[in-house]
Assembly symmetry: C2
Homo-oligomer: 253 residues x 2
């Protein structure tokens, strides 16, 4: 199925875009975006050195390359299930060509297990499977950081139309289901997933990255908490662990 | 229509419940609940003296009586639009007979204007009419106070079934629309509305009270902010202002 999706991309001419890096569109904490030769396509670079105070360590080129590889693999996997993403192709170790999106200013978090803030807020134990996945939305349009929202805020403040928000919801649920399925087959658990979405030519597409920076993958073969959570970049993830995760994910089923 | 609803209550025999106050079921900050003679009906008493630290003033009997009167009137008004509530009848100055509910541990807030926390969170100006009403849900099942939730938390943590939550949603929207309509005809604006709901014999009913303690009514005839907001009990509401609100609401259209 991945081959089919790639073939479709080739037919649609996406592969013909030249990828000389042009001027910077946006410099983020973890990624830079650059113009490509065509206005509908941009280059997403996974940043390699992010000197940040209070951080355990700065990111290395190896980690950036692993994020790029894992994201590319997972975007292709989602595309093979007809879940539209901004991914076109990987163009270098730390860069991918993506479709240019008009970003919807929402961060979408999906939880499948007791994890993160859910534990504190609902007294749910870590690693308890949830009866249903929990999807949370955060509006990031305010200067003072993001704030939780539900569908009513989204409509009242014009963040997205009801039709768009339904589609965001559907894509988040589907992406979570597909990635959970993949993880199950790899003896991984997808504890948390963080998504960003955007508009492109009247459709809603998944954007950003899908990597240990935005997803929390647990090793289902380990009992010990720390061992289990070693793939999460913001926690204990090391190049070695993330490289193991990459190999594990990409095993042919 | 109110007469019809009352007639229906008489027919259904609700008026036959004796209302001798029996033992206390629950002592709240603003209300006490007592058993009545029949297990399906309880007595809701609006507390008159609440010595609370840090409060501007304690509640008086007159305010409790006004809360009872306004709540009774608004519950009857909603019932006349086929919106089910726990209200049966007022039985004394500060007490009403209500149907016993199994409370759903959600506080439902409805906003029609820029008001309260919406202003801070979304930078919306006070008194700006919202494009669509905003409904917010807070789970109050935790010891450490309430926490915001959306439908996914409600399902994942078994707070209500999907069918129940849809009905909660529908009742909140309908109650808001009906009360907004009433307010419009009385030169009032319903800025915020706070609802609690519960289960009774397989149905979802509105519970609690509908008064200046849980609703923010603005005087649409006043330009001045303080004058406009003088009906809100937690702000500047005085016996005199609340009594004026009562008279204004109960004017025959």
């Amino acid at each position: 199925m991945i081959q089919q999706a790639q073939a479709a991309l080739v037919e649609s001419g996406d592969y013909s875009v030249r990828t000389d890096k042009r001027e910077l569109i946006y410099e983020g904490r973890n990624k830079n975006l650059y113009h490509s030769e065509k206005p509908d396509y941009i280059i997403q670079e996974f940043k390699t050195d992010v000197p940040e105070e209070g951080k355990k360590r700065s990111k290395t080129k190896e980690l950036s390359s692993l994020r790029n590889e894992i994201s590319s693999y997972l975007f292709e996997h989602l595309e093979s299930f007809r879940i539209p993403t901004h991914f076109v192709r990987r163009i270098s170790e730390t860069e991918m060509l993506v479709k240019r999106l008009e970003i919807i200013p929402l961060t979408v978090k999906v939880y499948n297990f007791g994890s993160g803030t859910l534990m504190k807020r609902f007294g749910v134990k870590e690693q308890t499977p949830l009866l249903f996945p929990v999807i949370e939305y955060f509006y990031k349009g305010m200067d003072r950081g993001s704030t939780w929202v539900n569908e009513y805020h989204v409509y009242a403040f014009g963040i997205a139309t009801p039709e768009e928000f339904k589609q965001v919801n559907r894509l988040a649920s589907k992406a979570n289901a597909v990635l959970r399925g993949l993880c199950d087959r790899r003896q991984l658990q997808l504890a948390e997933l963080q998504l960003e979405l955007g508009r492109q030519k009247g459709s809603i597409l998944l954007g950003d990255e899908l990597s240990p920076l935005t997803c929390r993958f647990w090793d289902a073969t380990k009992e010990n908490k720390i061992e289990r959570d070693r793939f999460t970049l913001d926690h204990d993830g090391t190049e070695e662990a993330i490289s193991e995760l990459r190999d594990r994910l990409q095993l042919k089923a």
